[in-house]
């Protein structure tokens, strides 16, 4: 009798533990993510394992990059402090599982927006913070200056679990070139193998190539070929099923881009409150009730601009000034010949 009682208690305890887990996951309705984030006091953000200009940690563990700034903007909006972010470095392979399983709440990791990712695997893309395309890097000494010089038998190093692998196949197949794909799990190993001479070419997004080139033993020995073989709109991703959180992340990014459009910077944001332009006033929380729909106060967007800066400041600080891609190319505002165009905050 006593023996059974003991077993019964342990069973009851086990079930009780399990049910506390259930109730938590059942509460995953409405904006659980916002509530949880405010309760925890930090935004849980998934980033890359080190891609200069996008998400890269310095020796002291401080993360910088345009992808990092998206998470910082959300932290500024919902917590009032852009530094209240917990960054989780993820490989290409781990990133979506980390997001769907709830380990992180925003994935801001140079991730390409595609139909199957958006529709199939429980993810929602909220926008584009960098327009990119896949390219190839080769050694200067190879004499290759264009992808049209690629020949049968070429070996190409890349990452697994990326759109790169699929684009590469489409590219070589459509040209009838046989190739050897050498796919690694981590970017650092791809670079090391390519640098050692294992592969004739290294292929990934062009921004990635430009950033990784700075990590090579001798960056001047390598060139990025001019051709772009795919469209790679990179942007932040959230879990499907929490539309309020999705809106918060989307509009945090939009605020940064629109602020640049209206000339609002981290330095002049406070002064803009007295601007004559109602659109500017809305962007700095001086007019309208722009935060109410998210369950936020009215100065959420002002905090983003003050603490993180507008998109142009972020780009300049992380990508242009570091020498990765000084020319903004398509990532320029639509008013200045680029394709950055966001819906209005009103």
């Amino acid at each position: 009798m006593f023996k059974y009682l003991k077993q019964l208690t342990s069973l009851v305890a086990m079930v009780a533990v399990l049910f506390t887990f259930t109730t938590e996951s059942m509460a995953a309705k409405k904006s659980k993510t916002l509530k949880n984030t405010q309760k925890k006091g930090f935004v849980r953000c998934g980033v890359s394992q080190g891609l200069p200009g996008f998400s890269n940690a310095d020796a002291a563990g401080n993360w910088t990059g345009v992808d990092v700034d998206v998470c910082r903007a959300v932290a500024a909006a919902v917590l009032g402090d852009a530094n209240k972010v917990k960054f989780t470095p993820l490989s290409a392979k781990e990133r979506f599982t980390a997001l769907t399983s709830g380990e992180i709440d925003i994935l801001s990791r140079n991730t390409t927006w595609t139909l199957s990712r958006d529709a199939d695997i429980g993810l929602t893309f909220v926008g584009v913070n960098f327009y990119d395309g896949q390219g190839f890097m080769v050694r200067k000494s190879s004499g290759i200056t264009s992808t049209s010089q690629f020949k049968n038998g070429i070996s190409a190093c890349t990452n697994i679990g990326t759109t790169t692998e699929l684009n590469m196949r489409d590219f070589f197949n459509s040209r009838g070139i046989s190739y050897e794909p050498v796919a690694f799990e981590k970017a650092d190993e791809v670079v090391a193998a390519y640098d050692a001479g294992r592969c004739d070419t290294y292929t990934t997004d062009k921004s990635g190539l430009a950033a990784q080139r700075t990590k090579m033993k001798n960056p001047d020995e390598h060139i990025v070929l001019p051709e772009t073989i795919s469209k790679e709109p990179l942007g932040p991703v959230v879990r499907q099923g929490d539309s309020v959180w999705e809106d918060i992340v989307r509009w945090s990014l939009n605020t940064m881009i629109e602020a640049e459009e209206y000339g609002i910077t981290s330095a002049n944001a406070d002064m803009m409150k007295t601007s004559d332009n109602p659109q500017i006033k809305r962007l700095v929380g001086a007019e309208g009730e722009m935060g109410a729909a998210f369950g936020l106060d009215n100065e959420w967007n002002l905090r983003i601009i003050k603490q993180v800066g507008n998109y142009g400041e972020s780009y300049k600080r992380n990508i242009a000034d570091t020498g990765i891609l000084p020319d903004r190319g398509p990532n320029e505002l639509w008013t200045k010949g680029g394709i950055l165009y966001v819906p209005p905050s009103r």
Binding site: S142, I160, E165, R169, A183, E189, D200
Partner: protein, 371 residues
């Protein structure tokens, strides 16, 4: 009681996963296996490219895992037995060298060893255009090992001649055993076997019309400083590095099993065998080894299982094994995490159980039969 608890726990996990997946709009199902995979794999034993299905990609990964495990087990066993015997050698140098090897390699984490053999050894290899030919026909380069391919004519006749030789050897062995048991006469089975395995295939060349020629790899220029070998068979450096590190690592453990097994046979056994007039070879073959094997096999089985499971570290150096191809790329492209991880786990489980079953069968076969 325990069963109920286990069922409850599993039921809860399944239910919880279902609820969460429904909330996030993720479908569950294995239908994706028949869809087109649309990614290529570097190295495959069966015909495969991106136009094949995910299931085919799974097979490619599985076969690559089996390939590297088989090569690894084969090399580790040979090396392990040699080193194990060397550790018992009266020769000081051999003995200490073997001991050093064992202590060195088994105390460094395997992943580090894999990285070492891949990145350090890889950088030391020449580029294809600088490679010296080995035996004039093979090239070891940073892009892999290039060896000649065999081109057979009438291969089936050659194949049948080998089968015939093996059948003949089995028959002769059985006959020799009977002769020894009834008349006490010994037949030189080994010599006859070696003769048969050489003579029959040789005959197939002489009178069976079998021809063998080689396709030697030829250097081809891709760009000013970029070369590759074409023709022949190429083994990727990832496979070589992985097989090498797995077997060097596991051989240390097997060596210790072998040493323990031989030392576990009582000295009295050898002396008794010698006293009834058996030669040194017969003592080893008939008395020591059968008893030592009984000690060696069970722990060695564990090492074989470890090697097979450790082969999943392949993902770190781009060898397209089951984990890299299926639980890596395929998982990413489909997003079917639960399905793919469950299949992968089940596959490793089946592989391990098959190895265990085979080794248990072998162990039973050599166990003492009580009369």
């Amino acid at each position: 009681m325990t069963v109920v608890a286990v069922v409850l726990v599993f039921g809860f996990f399944t239910y919880n996963a279902q609820v969460n997946m429904e909330n996030r709009g993720i479908d569950f199902g294995y239908g994706f296996l028949s869809q087109e995979s649309s990614f290529d794999v570097q190295f495959s034993l069966i015909e495969y490219d991106g136009s094949h299905s995910y299931f085919r990609a799974y097979l490619v990964g599985l076969l690559n895992t089996i390939l590297v495990s088989v090569i690894g087990i084969f090399l580790a066993t040979i090396l392990g037995v040699l080193v194990g015997i060397a550790r018992l050698s009266p020769n000081y140098l051999i003995n200490k060298f073997a001991a050093f090897y064992v202590e060195f390699f088994r105390n460094i984490p395997l992943l580090l060893q894999i990285f070492f053999w891949y990145f350090a050894a890889l950088r030391a290899l020449p580029l294809p255009q600088d490679a010296e030919a080995m035996f004039g026909i093979s090239f070891l380069t940073i892009k892999g090992l290039f060896v000649p391919a065999f081109i057979w004519e009438n291969f089936n006749i050659f194949f049948y001649s080998i089968v015939a030789a093996i059948v003949a050897i089995i028959v002769i062995r059985a006959h020799a055993k009977k002769v020894q048991e009834t008349q006490g006469k010994q037949t030189p089975v080994l010599l006859i076997s070696i003769g048969l395995i050489f003579i029959l295939p040789l005959l197939s060349f002489l009178i069976g019309g079998v021809r063998l020629s080689f396709e030697v790899p030829v250097l081809k220029q891709l760009a000013t400083t970029s070369f590759i070998y074409e023709g022949g068979v190429s083994l990727p450096p990832e496979l070589i590095a992985l097989a090498l590190s797995l077997s060097l690592y596991t051989a240390t453990f097997i060596a210790e099993c072998v040493r323990a097994g031989i030392q576990g046979v009582g000295k009295g056994q050898k002396e008794a065998a010698a006293s009834i007039g058996l030669t040194q070879n017969q003592v080893l073959k008939l008395v020591v080894m059968p008893q030592a094997l009984r000690i060696i096999i069970p722990p060695t089985t564990n090492q074989y299982l470890n090697l097979t499971k450790n082969s999943s570290l392949a993902a770190a150096i781009a060898y397209p094994d089951l984990v890299l191809v299926f639980a890596g790329t395929a998982l990413m492209q489909t997003g079917k995490a639960i399905e793919i991880v469950s299949i992968t786990m089940f596959t490793y489980l089946s592989l391990s159980i098959s190895i265990s079953l085979f080794m248990n069968w072998y162990n039973n076969k050599i166990a003492i039969t009580e009369k």
